[in-house]
């Protein structure tokens, strides 16, 4: 692990190097301009220091060429920075389609994590190296922020919404995980570790230390169980009365609503439709679904959505 005295911290994700490249460029610019300014100020200060009996200095010419040239150079420089920064930013915010999804719930003051295979963890995240990971995150209370310095990624986690973060770890190791949005008394304790394992170790870890029966249930299975327990299948099942729309293949596709508008059935839409079913009625259906707000919690919501997503299959978009 790089020591804190080295210029750059440990690089452990695919974007880390790209971010560091910009950082180094910026450091170079900063050092250059700081030294330039310091040099000029010192040289002018010494060379043109006050001398007894010297005539009063002349007025500067009102000539804007220096300002225009300086401004022009700077303009080019900042446009380069903007473009470069935006390019890396877009790369680091767009998850690839084949990312493995891990569910994250933040609450005062811990991170609850759930793997696709059902294993749950708190404050420690085990992931395989060399594989893109997407975190789907929400908060039970206030705003938190998920930050892994070695990966150079960070994303706020909001109550009532889903935010996404993705990364691909490049080498096995143990990296710090922090909450970086101030969230109350024990804010500084809300963190832990990201354990990057080799894919083989990860598979072993999934099986080895799997504890209780609940933990072995995948989010999809848990969602499916909830789907049955809550009675969702009575309406959303093609075999029964079809009071509600059939959910297979819905996720990620456009849904036509009763008022003629269209929405994409993403996480936010599914969340809203479960919590407050009356909000967006699918065309051709009656607003008869009960409201599940207060009945399902954030973890269960994530599981239900995971199940509905699974009905669309992995490659649906």
């Amino acid at each position: 692990m790089n020591s804190v005295y080295s210029l750059l911290p440990e690089q452990a994700s695919t974007v880390a190097g790209q971010v560091d490249a910009i950082y180094l460029f910026l450091v170079a610019i900063s050092v250059f301009f700081t030294l330039l300014l310091a040099g000029l100020v010192l040289v002018f200060g010494i060379k043109y220091r006050r001398r007894e009996g010297a005539p009063a200095p002349e007025r500067p010419h009102e000539d804007s060429s220096l300002e225009l040239i300086g401004g022009g150079i700077l303009l080019v420089l900042v446009l380069v920075l903007f473009g470069w920064g935006a390019k890396v930013f877009f790369h680091s915010t767009r998850p690839p389609a084949d990312a493995m999804e891990i569910l994250v719930t933040g609450k005062q003051w811990m991170w609850k994590l759930q793997h696709p295979q059902g294993k749950r963890e708190i404050n420690t995240l085990h992931i395989p190296a060399g594989r893109p990971i997407q975190l789907t995150m929400t908060s039970e209370d206030v705003i938190h922020s998920f930050f892994i310095p070695a990966f150079r990624v960070k994303q706020d986690v909001l109550p009532g919404r889903y935010t996404r973060l993705w990364f691909e770890a490049t080498k096995p190791g143990k990296y710090r995980l922090f909450c970086t949005e101030y969230c109350g008394t024990e804010h500084s304790m809300m963190g832990g570790w990201v354990n990057v394992l080799t894919p083989a170790d990860y598979e072993r870890w999934l099986v080895d230390s799997g504890g209780a029966a609940v933990a072995s249930e995948t989010p999809v299975q848990a969602g499916e169980r909830l789907f049955t327990q809550l009675g969702c299948q009575t309406c959303h099942n093609p075999g029964s009365g079809q009071l509600g729309p059939h959910l297979a293949g819905v996720y990620g596709h456009t849904v036509k609503l009763a008022d003629g508008t269209e929405v994409v059935a993403d996480d936010e839409y599914l969340r809203e439709s479960i919590l407050n079913s009356q909000a967006k009625i699918v065309a051709g259906f009656q607003p008869v679904m009960p409201v599940f707000k207060g009945i399902v919690n954030e973890d269960q919501l994530l599981q239900l959505i995971a199940y509905i997503k699974s009905l669309s299959g992995g490659a649906s978009n």
């Binding site: 609503l257 009763a258 008022d259 003629g260 407050n276 009356q278 909000a279 967006k280 009625i281 607003p287």
Partner: protein
């Protein structure tokens, strides 16, 4: 202190014209701050409306156009009386000016009275945000239909799709916006009272009526805020 020909010119001004221009500019700058102050609320309103259009339609249907429209007319009329008060002060008709000021103040009170009636209605109907807030869009739709109002396709969808929580957001903003406006009206009424006392005392003349003029600017501004609040809160999606 140096003596000036005009007793109304404060010691630090060179002349009456400088003083008048300063007063006007000062009030206009203050009004700019007011624009931004209400601007924050208008921004919140616009953003939530863009997110939850159905709830906004339902929320506005539960407000009374009659009361809102009446109040709009009252405030516009008070703007006229205010302008007349300035006009009278400017043309040395101080007695008339005092009367116009009284009329302005009365119209202000009428507005506030109607507002109280509206607020009381909202309290009765549990439309005050908080733990007691309750609204059932479908029941409200039924009421509309029972009242013989033609409910079009769009309106029906809005009522069906509106989330009561979002309607509560509408009412949070309704109370915040109209409440802030009412606070400005009350301050305005206080200013009118002060103007009235000074006018009766004979402080103002065609040579010096800055306070009447700049208070008028303030009053008109409060009127303008309502000119926007009325359509935005009461008239959305009535079709």
């Amino acid at each position: 202190m140096s003596s000036h020909s005009n007793a109304h010119v404060a010691h630090h001004f060179e002349n009456a014209e400088q003083q008048r221009q300063s007063a006007q500019l000062g009030m206009w700058i203050f009004l700019v701050t007011e624009v931004m102050f209400f601007g924050g609320l208008f921004a919140a309103y616009t953003i939530y409306r863009s997110l939850y259009p159905e709830a906004w339609v339902v929320g506005s249907h539960l407000l009374s156009i009659k009361l809102g429209g009446f109040n709009t007319a009252v405030l516009l009329a008070s703007s006229l009386t205010m302008a007349m008060a300035v006009h009278a002060a400017q043309t040395d008709k101080q007695k008339a000016s005092a009367n116009w000021i009284i009329l302005t103040m009365l119209l202000g009170f009428v507005f506030l009275g109607v507002k109280v009636v509206e607020y009381a209605g909202k309290i009765d109907h549990h439309l005050v945000p908080g733990p007691h807030f309750f609204v059932d869009p479908m029941a409200e739709l039924a009421k509309l239909e029972a009242a013989g109002i033609q409910v079009g396709q769009h309106l029906r969808h809005a009522f069906e799709g509106a989330n009561p929580n979002h309607i509560q957001l509408f009412y949070s903003l309704y109370f915040a916006m109209t409440g802030m406006h009412a606070v400005h009206m009350i301050i305005g009424a206080g200013i009118m009272l002060w103007l009235l006392v000074n006018t009766r005392k004979g402080v103002y003349s065609s040579q010096y009526f800055n306070p009447v003029e700049v208070s008028g600017l303030y009053w008109h501004f409060v009127d303008i805020v309502w000119i926007f609040l009325f359509p935005m809160l009461y008239l959305i999606g009535r079709h």
